[in-house]
């Protein structure tokens, strides 16, 4: 139930989508790009989103590409998480996607929607951050490609009118040893206390986190501690946790201290699984 009116548009190309956005913005419609729509509908019902126009991205061919055989592999932003899981082009991303919401919801939730959502867990971003994927963005100034790590600071730093077209993951990153775990307060559906995605490239561990802070992050300081092999693993882990950005979430799902405790335990699991001496 959406308690206000909006107009629905379904462009067939990137250029049409951008032109629609510009026109609707000029008319004061505050348009939103629309992927699976689950978050827009949910937050609209709660009065947390308002718009007079949505622009559905699912008919744009470039946003629907799934090229698992190319290098880099190409993932359209309008692919559903179920489509990504079933095709499994990038196992670490599959593991992240498979833990978002539930099976039926994942039939609707898109990769782009999960990356750009207001709900701050954005867990598919973790796999892309540690794999240092590229992101293709379209907007009023054209189409550009950037490393996601340069654009994702707590959330994707997009200009007004820009949207995610595709994600590109270099093939070597797809095949690296990796770790993914999502720990919840209880059950197998829901938001995380802590989610960790990690991989090991050239003996260096990359790690990204969600659920610990009110934003996902990958931190050079944290990784420097994790990779400091002059120290025993327990010290590396504790130093890494101490270097987490702030604030640490402290809510009904888990206190800040408990989340840090869980994060440390999961980091121990990650290091062990990635072949580190514990």
């Amino acid at each position: 139930m959406v308690p206000f009116e909006f107009a629905y548009y379904r462009p067939q190309s990137i250029a049409e989508a951008v032109a629609m956005f510009i026109e609707l913005e000029q008319k004061g419609k505050r348009p939103l790009y629309y992927g699976g729509g689950t978050e827009i509908i949910t937050l609209s019902r709660l009065g947390l989103v308002s718009t007079a126009a949505v622009i559905d991205m699912k008919a744009i061919p470039e946003c629907r590409v799934l090229d698992a055989d190319s290098d880099p592999l190409v993932l359209g932003a309008a692919l559903s998480l179920t489509e990504l899981v079933e095709a499994n082009p990038f196992p670490l991303l599959t593991k992240a996607a498979k833990e978002v919401a539930d099976r039926t919801a994942r039939n609707q939730i898109t990769l782009g929607g999960n990356l750009c959502g207001q709900i701050f867990y954005r867990e598919t971003a973790l796999a892309l951050l540690v794999a240092e994927a590229d992101i293709v963005i379209a907007g009023p100034n054209g189409v550009r490609q950037s490393r996601i790590n340069d654009l994702f600071h707590q959330h994707l730093q997009l200009s007004r009118g820009e949207f995610v077209v595709q994600i590109k993951v270099r093939r070597f990153a797809v095949e690296l040893p990796h770790f993914h775990h999502k720990r919840r307060k209880q059950g197998e559906i829901g938001y995380p206390l802590v989610t960790i995605a990690a991989l090991k490239k050239d003996e260096t561990i990359h790690a990204a986190f969600s659920g610990v802070c009110p934003f996902p992050f990958r931190s050079a300081k944290v990784e420097a501690h994790l990779n400091d092999r002059r120290r025993p693993a327990t010290e590396r882990i504790q130093a890494a946790v101490n270097a987490f950005p702030r604030p640490i979430l402290h809510d009904i799902e888990g206190s800040a201290d408990y989340r840090l405790f869980v994060a440390a335990q999961l980091l121990e699991d990650a290091l062990r699984e990635l072949g580190e001496t514990i």
Binding site: V2, A7, R103, A105
Partner: protein
């Protein structure tokens, strides 16, 4: 660009073509129930959590409270009213896989799709799919038994007959 926020939609539901004038911002759930009288699809949480409103869109389970009706133009929608004599419906009766029955249409739609798409579904696949639906009466054991029987019926292509329905 069209300015109006109401529109005429031609929807394909349960093998029939239905025309409705509705808000562009209206969800499929309320178009099915309030505009078309298909009240078998149940409003529950309206938040995408409970699965009571699950329908099939091109054979894929979708929470109809989370999809705009306008998105389904050109697609085949199946609601609980569109199912007749499916193995899972009979299995639900045989196993008394419901109590109040409010969640039942959503479960049936989801499980019907599971059986069609994964006739050899293993325990983890069944569990993954059924996590999308909540039964407040907690009939989960009976529902799981019904799923397994319906999968077996699909495999052997023998549907349980009405004569086998147990009664107390």
């Amino acid at each position: 660009m069209e300015e109006t926020t109401k529109c005429e939609l031609v929807l394909h539901i349960n093998g029939e073509q239905r025309t409705v004038i509705t808000r562009q911002a209206e969800t499929l759930l309320f178009v099915l129930r309030d505009e078309l009288g298909l009240t078998g699809t149940k409003p529950g949480c309206l938040n995408g959590d409970c699965g009571a409103c699950t329908v099939l869109v091109n054979g894929t389970p979708i929470k109809s409270c989370m999809m705009l009706a306008i998105e389904t133009v050109g697609k085949e929608i199946t609601t609980i009213e569109g199912l007749r004599d499916t193995p899972i419906q009979h299995a639900f009766v045989r196993h008394f896989a419901f109590q109040c029955g409010y969640c039942t249409p959503g479960f049936i739609m989801n499980i019907h799709a599971l059986i069609e798409q994964h006739p050899n579904a293993d325990q983890s696949t069944i569990q993954e799919w059924l996590q999308s639906n909540i039964c407040r009466c907690t009939s989960y054991q009976e529902i799981e038994a019904a799923v397994k029987e319906a999968l077996q019926a699909k495999k052997t292509d023998i549907q349980p007959s009405h004569n086998r329905i147990s009664r107390v």
